[in-house]
């Protein structure tokens, strides 16, 4: 059953990621992993520039994947920002998440949500409107620092919906928070094809948080959606573990995350993960 599902996915794989290139790189990585040169960090990757520090975590689940073909996976990415000094970090302006080309996005037959439908809506409202287009969920946190006030964290729930923006696939991240007051926003992650190792790139422009008084400190998103379209099962994201022959696992660059901040600073890191051949 798994093989059949894989073959369906292979047939319908959108031309987002050149499979040959992916296999090639995974093979090299698998070799390196087998030689013990690379190891997956347990708590995510830290990167810093000046006073600014970011930690990126994420991965795929399950990590046991077929050597041949794809299997549905859940992809989670989380980034957290802080400063060594404890000051409020500068405003996050853009976030780019480039996923390994081994992953494949499939939105065929997946309902879409329109941004206007979920703007100014609670999570429940958004779900009631766009539940069919739901791709996953997550969380969102921002430090709000109004003038002369104590900094506080505003947290919200994130719902990811499938969408097309400007004729291209996109993810609408609907953020809803009720503390300290009801508020919602939509972050649009546009999806485009990347080059090389990272074939799928999600890039989002962060809306100004409370007229610049706020600063995003963390955003987490877990994408996982299986759905049936015309009688066939689909997964929004699927991937395989192309370990070289003789290897039961492979180490691969899972994702590259980059964040740009007000003032021009850029923090980026590559997340390396391991998959097992099942």
């Amino acid at each position: 059953m798994s093989a059949a599902r894989t073959s369906r996915h292979q047939r319908r794989r959108p031309a987002l990621v050149p499979r040959s290139s992916l296999l090639c790189q995974l093979g090299i990585l698998g070799l390196l992993a087998a030689l013990g040169f690379l190891a997956a960090p347990a708590r995510g990757e830290l990167t810093a520039r000046g006073d600014l520090l970011a930690r990126f975590t994420g991965g795929i689940a399950p990590d046991a994947l077929p050597r041949q073909g794809d299997a549905p996976i859940a992809v989670s990415v989380q980034s957290a920002v802080r400063t060594f000094s404890g000051d409020v970090p500068p405003a996050l302006q853009t976030i780019t998440i480039a996923l390994n080309s081994a992953g494949r996005l499939d939105t065929r037959g997946l309902p879409r949500c329109r941004q206007a439908e979920i703007e100014t809506a609670s999570s429940a409202q958004a779900l009631s409107i766009c539940r069919a287009a739901l791709l996953g969920s997550g969380s969102y946190s921002a430090d709000l620092a109004f003038p002369e006030q104590v900094v506080f964290a505003s947290r919200g729930r994130v719902l990811a919906f499938n969408a097309v923006v400007g004729g291209r696939p996109a993810i609408l991240a609907h953020v809803f928070g009720s503390e300290p007051a009801l508020t919602s926003r939509v972050i649009v992650f546009r999806i485009h094809r990347g080059q090389g190792t990272f074939g799928t790139v999600l890039s989002g422009t962060m809306p100004e948080e409370a007229n610049g008084y706020g600063s995003v400190t963390s955003i987490a998103l877990r994408l996982f959606r299986n759905y049936v379209y015309r009688g066939e099962r689909h997964s929004y994201i699927s991937a395989g573990c192309p370990a070289p022959a003789g290897f039961t696992s492979a180490v691969f660059p899972f994702a590259k995350v980059a964040m740009s901040f007000a003032g021009g600073r850029l923090l980026a890191s590559t997340l390396t993960r391991t998959c097992r051949v099942r």
């Binding site: 109004f146 006030q149 009801l182 508020t183």
Partner: protein, 946 residues
């Protein structure tokens, strides 16, 4: 008119005097004449002598007065002589009725060195007085039927009542001629010798009187004592009388002590034929010399009568003067000026003014013998004078005189009148005194100038003590020094420093500051306590009621002076300013602060009556019975940044004093956050007219009907005062305040909410919230409004935020305005209104702040968060405890709208959750429908659909 006659008389006098000198070379009288004859001649030629009389032949042909020794204060013999005009037969033109001789001031006699004889002894026993009673002798010439001319002894006799001293001689064994020595009351208090009701049959044509400087020195060779068996005429050979004197040698006459002043002796004569006609003559001036060697050695003590600090006390000044009784030396110059400077801290006690009166000039009758009719309430002290010339002391009374000036340092503001009265002796001396008071410290300096040139051995002046004593002692213990300057008529100046100790605290208690055995220091005042009592509250302690407000501040004796007051009223204790006039700055400025202005203000207040809100009673002065004066409290306009002020006008009119008006203005600062009223006074006057006020008791009664309003919150509160001491201490008295019966005050406000404008999702509607309350309801305590979940906070519309710094500076950016609010209150004539800002806060989100402005500024800060049901909640937790009949909050919509619809408002009826709690604890929770701009048909349809 009489000048030709006077000249003729003088010419006659000159020739006659020269002849007299020739005739009496060996006589005693002749010796006396020689002393001054040359001078008399010279002065007569210069026209010094004068006689005035009606056109009658009767007149003074010559007049002479001199002393044997012109050294100052010498005990010289004195001589006077007058000759009357006579007809060709040597008869006087009229019989003499009265002879008055006014001697220069300072020339005094001490009759006490002579034995006092009696008329009986003199007359019945034919000059039977003892030799020790003999003051001198008289040479008279009578052109009567007896034709007597001769020398007669002059004895001291017992004076009649009202006469200090009398002398008499016996004429022809039948007629006693009495010379009454009196004290003039025309200001110089010189001696005056009068012969009254003279026997008209005597035919007096000449009289020469000789008074001995030292009577004992004139003992003659023969027996002198009257021998009743002798029939021989007295002194047939002239003044060869004498005899052994019984008793010690003591000086009888003493010259004036003031050098450089021409002393003139005046003669006034009347006769029996010409009633009212007075014939006068002046002697040649006599000037004494040698004042500089006179000895003036006074001693003085000047001190309060109590040794307690900060206590009403009498003051005592005691002066003693050494009297040189040696007949061979010179006398002591009498006191001319006395100036006593009490130490700083000894000051006039305001309490003394209560019931005090003054002695007017027409009652005191200075320089007159008219009766003193000073009212009893003008008596502020007593005095006792001891003089060596009288057997008894002279009692005195010290009276307060009316103010002549508003300058306390002039000596004309506080004036004294010392009346020394001895009716038995006919002595009535009235001396003006001046009290100069330092206008800044209140230090007292009392001065009596040009005292009589009479011999005094002791002066004791006491200023009244008791609860209303004229003076108050310094506030701290320690040793104080008083400086005194005494000046004699001889020109000697003595500066004497005396000290006294205060070793007890107020009213005999322990010292509150200062070391009793150490010199007092001004720094000690800073150690004085500041234990101020305060009581305040509304007369009716009913929640929300209108009631008079009373306030009382008390300060114990010995505490630091109160110099200013800050008073924090309880929240909710407010005033209804609507309909109350303001006393303008111009009117307040017109209130005079000069002497005499107090009475004018009382008669015609500067502030309009409609601005009066209450009355004030101020107690001033140390001791158990402060002086209370009344004033008025007026509502005034903006002052020193505060929107209102209170002007307390207290006419400083007490007893005889009118020191003008005291105007103390207090700012009424209204806390914009809770409308709590803070009263901040200007500095209190601590000294007025040089009188330290020693404020003890300040009472304010704000009793304008309907003016004060009690809170509608029944929690226990307090009035918190801050009283600043004049020497740095600060007291923080507090008075508990609580109203009751909150449960009986109704509370039923209503809130209406309406969203205007966009009704669709993502649109930003405007919001209008209207809160209405009934008059008489309890005031609103807090309000919480939770909007339906249809309204989100539009993050993108949170633009500019006014920082608290900007807000405090009233400098919020225009972009931080998100709405407008208006509040109607019965307390003010006009509603308060102003913009609604997003302002930085202590909460997570900025507060929504309505900056209400008008007659006062009130800021209503609402916290934005999420309510129970999840909707946006705005909570006004600190609503002032003030009556508001209507409050309208209008939040903008559109691009400035902070709310954004999360759904189409027309889909359903939405309700807000409103929690309102009254200041009295009652609640008025409600779930009002949030009106919107959906078309009625739509709503009807929707309603029908439901």
């Amino acid at each position: 008119m009489n000048r030709p006659r006077a000249i003729r008389n003088r010419r006659f006098l000159a020739s006659r005097e020269i002849q007299a000198m020739t005739d009496s070379k060996t006589s005693f009288a002749g010796r006396l004449r020689r002393l001054s004859a040359a001078a008399l001649v010279a002065f007569a030629a210069m026209g010094i002598l004068a006689a005035s009389a009606p056109a009658s032949p009767f007149g003074i042909e010559s007049w002479e007065a001199s002393v044997s020794d012109t050294r100052a204060a010498a005990h010289a013999d004195g001589f006077t002589s007058f000759i009357l005009t006579t007809d060709s037969e040597g008869h006087p033109y009229a019989p003499t009725k009265q002879v008055t001789v006014d001697v220069p001031p300072g020339l005094v006699g001490n009759p006490r060195v002579l034995t006092e004889c009696s008329v009986v002894m003199l007359k019945e026993f034919g000059n039977g007085c003892p030799r020790s009673a003999m003051a001198g002798f008289v040479h008279i010439e009578l052109n009567s039927s007896d034709g007597f001319a001769g020398v007669l002894p002059l004895f001291r006799i017992k004076p009649p009542t009202g006469i200090p001293a009398s002398f008499a001689f016996l004429v022809a064994n039948t007629t006693i001629v009495r010379l009454d020595a009196e004290v003039r009351s025309d200001g110089d208090y010189g001696l005056q010798v009068n012969v009254r009701e003279a026997n008209g049959t005597l035919g007096l044509t000449r009289s020469d009187v000789t008074l001995w400087g030292v009577p004992a020195d004139h003992a003659g060779p023969g027996p002198f004592e009257f021998n009743p068996t002798s029939t021989s005429a007295w002194f047939p050979d002239g003044p060869t009388f004498g005899g052994p004197l019984r008793g010690p040698r003591k000086p009888f006459l003493t010259n004036p002590s003031e050098c450089g002043v021409a002393g003139i002796t005046r003669l006034s004569i009347t006769n029996w034929y010409e009633p009212g006609a007075i014939f006068t003559a002046e002697s040649a001036p006599t000037t004494v010399y040698g004042c500089e060697i006179l000895e003036f050695n006074p001693a003085i003590t000047a001190e309060p009568t109590l040794n307690s600090a900060a206590t009403p006390s009498g003051l005592n000044a005691e002066l003693e003067f050494a009297i040189n009784e040696s007949p061979d030396g010179r006398g002591n110059p009498p006191l001319r000026d006395a100036r006593v400077a009490f130490p700083a801290g000894v000051a006039i006690n305001p309490s003394a003014a209560d019931g005090l009166g003054v002695c007017r000039d027409d009652q005191l009758n200075l320089n007159s013998k008219a009766p003193v009719t000073c009212p009893d309430n003008s008596l502020i002290g007593t005095a006792t004078i001891v003089t060596p010339v009288l057997d008894e002391t002279i009692p005195g009374k010290l009276f307060l005189r009316p103010m002549n000036s508003g300058d306390p340092e002039s000596g004309e503001m506080y004036r004294l009148g010392l009346v020394l009265n001895n009716p038995t002796r006919g002595i009535s001396v009235r001396l003006p005194g001046a009290v100069k008071v330092d206008r800044n410290t209140g230090q007292i300096e009392a001065t009596f100038r040009d005292n009589p040139q009479l011999p005094v051995s002791k002066i004791d002046v006491d200023l009244n003590g008791g609860g209303r004593a004229m003076a108050v002692t310094p506030p701290t213990c320690g040793i104080y020094t008083a400086g005194t300057r005494l000046t004699s008529w001889g020109g000697q100046v003595k500066d004497i420093v005396t000290s006294f100790k205060l070793d007890e605290g107020p009213r005999g208690g322990p010292c509150l500051a200062g070391e009793p055995n150490q010199p007092a220091s001004a720094a000690d005042k800073a150690k004085l306590p500041m234990e101020i009592g305060m009581n305040a509250g509304t007369v009716k302690a009913l929640a929300g009621s209108s009631s008079p407000f009373v306030f009382k501040l008390t300060r114990p004796d010995g505490n630091q002076e109160m110099s200013a007051l800050d008073l924090d009223l309880p929240q909710g204790l407010l005033a209804k300013l609507a309909g109350v006039s303001r006393c303008s700055d111009a009117a307040l400025a017109s209130i005079g602060t000069s002497v005499g202005d107090g009475a004018k203000e009382i008669a015609n207040p500067a502030c309009p009556a409609n601005s009066q809100i209450g009355s004030v009673v101020v107690g001033a002065g140390a001791g158990a019975v402060p002086l209370y004066v009344n004033g008025k409290a007026y509502l005034a306009g903006p002052y020193k940044g505060a929107p209102f002020s209170i002007a307390v006008v207290v006419p400083a009119v007490a007893g005889p004093f009118d020191l003008g008006n005291s105007v103390v203005r207090s700012r009424l600062v209204v806390d914009p956050d809770d409308a709590q009223v803070h009263v901040k006074s200007d500095p209190f006057p601590t000294i007025l007219g040089g009188v330290p006020l020693n404020l003890r008791d300040i009472r304010v009664l704000v009793d304008r009907p309907g003016f004060m309003r009690a809170p509608s919150n029944c929690r226990a509160m307090s009035l918190q005062g801050t009283v600043y001491g004049a020497d740095g201490a600060v007291a923080r008295p507090s008075s508990r305040f609580q109203v009751g019966d909150c449960g009986s005050v109704p509370f039923a406000p209503r809130l209406q909410l309406q969203l205007k404008g966009g009704t669709k999702r993502n649109q930003n509607p405007a919001l209008t919230a209207t809160l209405t309350a009934r008059p008489g309801d309890a005031n609103i305590g807090d309000v919480s409004v939770t909007l339906p979940r249809s309204e989100f906070l539009d993050n993108d519309h949170i633009k500019t935020i006014c920082t608290r710094v900007q807000f405090a500076a009233d400098n919020c950016p225009q972009a931080s305005v998100y709405g407008f609010a208006r509040a109607y209150t019965p307390l003010l004539d006009k509603p308060l209104e102003g913009p609604v800002y997003l302002r930085s806060s202590n909460h997570k989100l900025p507060d929504l702040v309505a900056a209400l402005d008008g007659e006062v500024e009130v800021d209503l800060a609402g916290r934005i968060d999420t309510g129970k049901g999840g909707g946006i909640r705005n909570t006004f937790e600190a609503v002032p405890d003030a009556p508001v009949t209507k409050f309208v909050l209008q939040m903008q919509g559109g691009k400035k709208g902070l709310l954004v619809n999360s759904t189409n408002l027309c889909n359903a009826t939405r309700r807000a959750t409103v929690l309102i709690e009254g200041q009295n604890g009652k609640t008025a929770d409600q779930r009002p429908v949030v009106k919107n701009s959906c078309k009625k048909t739509t709503r009807k349809a929707r309603s029908h659909h439901r």
